[in-house]
Symmetry: C2
Subunit: 157 residues, 2 copies
């Protein structure tokens, strides 16, 4: 699905983004919109949604919304062309091989993935652009943890 | 925007739905998808998002997500053609006059609005179909209050 150089008919560039996307909020949507823009006009955005088990292993907390619902909800966004559940055992190589992205977009809180990705791309001599997307409106209710915090505040006051 | 009888070029039927849509979840999306279906193929779905002040007056609790973000998030859904913030003082007549819907869809938890609406439509002799949409998958995490409950459970255990 990658662009063939010299090919007359250029296919849509594929942008890959991934995340938990628990408690969907505007910060997620803005991130995905920016991610898609990085693929140029007419890009296709594929989003990998982290499995519950992967999140529990990594963050030691369970997501509030189960994986199937997080995935279906992502797929219902205008900006998302395809939403897919990740592998139980996260493997960046398998993901890249399956999606064949032209661009991989990372969120402001995905710093730990960046070096692993850059190493993988350089080692395999892949023509994949890696972009970091900034955080949006930090004073707004634009993160799942802020939403959780507000719910708990309302509960405990 | 309503369908003109006898007109050769039939315009898109407009379906109107409304709600708070705090903590967007799959139950909301499924409700909106069913609502849109009630307008037939090629229907247009307009969603009115309740103002923070209206919710606080009615439910005595503030929404977790502020009105502008709830509205923008609704507008980012594939199923939604237009998302609009409601009036500060809810007035069904003003809403109907502005949107001119062919169908008004009500959720399972909007029973109180049904009679008011039916009375208004009959009194003003309007050609508006009122439909009730069922609840989806009651055992799933498909309501804002269940999501809140789970966050509080995780916090207090």
């Amino acid at each position: 699905m990658a662009i063939k150089k010299g090919s007359k008919r250029r296919k849509r560039r594929i942008v890959l983004a991934s995340g938990v996307f628990d408690l969907l909020h505007l910060g997620h949507v803005r991130f995905l919109e920016e991610a898609k823009k990085a693929g140029g006009p007419n890009a296709e955005l594929v989003v990998i949604i982290a499995r519950d088990s992967t999140v529990e292993k990594k963050k030691v907390i369970r997501p509030v919304v189960p994986e199937n619902q997080r995935c279906a909800l992502m797929g219902s966004l205008k900006v998302v062309d395809e939403a897919i559940l990740g592998y139980g055992n996260f493997d960046i190589g398998k993901v890249i091989e399956k999606i064949r992205p032209d661009v991989i977009a990372l969120g402001y809180d995905q710093r730990d993935m960046e070096q692993t990705l850059r190493d993988y791309v350089s080692e395999h001599r892949l023509n994949i652009k890696i972009v970091r997307i900034g955080k949006f409106s930090s004073d707004e209710l634009d993160s799942s943890s802020k939403i959780k915090q507000r719910i708990i505040e309302d509960f405990t006051r």
